[in-house]
Amino acid sequence: MPASPERRRPVGLLLVAVPVLLVLWLVIWPIISAVITTIWLRTPEGTQFSLETYRFFFSDGYSLSNLSVTLWTTGVCAILLLVICLPIALYLRFSDSKVAAYVQGLAIFPMFVPSIILSFALIRVLGPNGTVDLLLNAISLPKIRSPYLTPWGPVIGLVWDNIPLTVLILLSGLGNVSNQSIEAARDVGAGRFALLWHIILPRITNSILVAISFAVLGIFSAFTLPYILGPAAPEMMGPFMQRTFRDLYDPTSAITQAVVTFGFCIVFGLFYVRSVAKNRTP
């Protein structure tokens, strides 16, 4: 737009002011405030510095088992996502057959299915007397031990839910692997495994780390799928925080749990932000 340099400055700042203030008020400030309210506790004598809420969290068996089931779920999901999505992304990058378009459509499809519908669908398929049980019964096999309401329930749901973005991020990274480098390696006799290990993986390490970071940030405090598909106890941090905040009406403990999740995810968060920032400039 034609505008003199003197006019540009206030106009640009003015146009971005409202969303930036919203981010400050509803993202940055709540995080700072969460840390402050959990270490400056209100007592009858006034506010004073105390790590009591954290001491309680890290000495309470129930909180710790919730944290460990969350760590377990996040780790298992991250590994499964990589094992499932890397072959899909590799196939999509190096195939131009008609089937590839169908596979890509399917891999992206979960993005258009809300978690709540997915939860209901998985209960109807994998739950007691669900479709899998019906089919097994039809061929005279015993029922499955349903993953619904066990720690595997959220794992299945969260992996399903995270397939599209993991595939897209890996695929975007694979775009940096040139066909010439593959051809050159093949010409000197590299097999499929050597190609993957020496040519492809080193070039997409960053994308793999970004995909994992994104998945970890989403899964660590996931709520809907663990709340509906997971066991009542121990529960993942998402349902745990929700119950502490709403049912037990204990905001300070819930916010302490939130700060603990921030602490566990900070490395992934910083890495993710750095990578995204590196790829984009306004």
Binding site: V27, I108, P164
Partner: protein, 272 residues
Amino acid sequence: MATLVHRRVDWTGIILAVVLTLAIVFPLLVVGTWAFTNVWRYPSVIPQEFGLRFWGQTLGRADVWTSITMSLTLATTVTLISAAICLPAAFAFARLEFPGRDLLFFSFLAGHAFPKFGLLVAIAGIFLQLNLIGTFWGVVLIQLVGTLLFMIWIPVAAFQSVDRRMEEAARDVGAGPFRVFWSITLPQAGPTIAAAILLSFVGTFYETEGAWLIGAPQVRTLPVLMISFINNQPVIQFGAVLSVLLWVPSFIALLFARRVVNSGSFARGFGG
């Protein structure tokens, strides 16, 4: 192109297609079947009676209509506010020079650098002091945060991809700034911006965590109602019919936004 896959029959593709169809399409087909089933008792593999009986019953429920209205009102409000404040900002980030531009642009990533539900609980702590818990505007604010990144980053990319030479040519023949924006910039950036607005509407429509944490039980959206159907409703068909109804906006998004999602710029927005 086919450097790794050389076979005439694409077995890898066929195996992947079959496995993904089973894992991704099959569960949804089961829900779709339940929605059009009057009677389906164990151990019959297919329903004993197909029909639309439960559509009438589900749509006859007052709580379903209240939550449909609430979800549509919320999603429309959030999308309109989001568009009103984010699109001018996106234009500024794409085209204008001002101090701190890069830092402010990347500040929108802050919301994605923390585990989402943890952040929601931290926000809820503040809303508690401001008496925003259980209010419509409390839910609007929390959902607005979720749309900020999308509604700024995707339109910025759209504004940047507009052909600047065409704008200059229009100016050379005497078009004013608004005429250039209306006739040259908007038609080129428009489809991507429309996709961003659609994704923002759909994302808000399905937002469950914030609506549940901040709004329930006073503000009950369709996904929140669905949670109570799953937990407390013995009639399976109610949940199935609600799932099919609930999927309509997503289906529309699927039709219109798939191209944007498939494009490389979308994945790059997530750091790919």
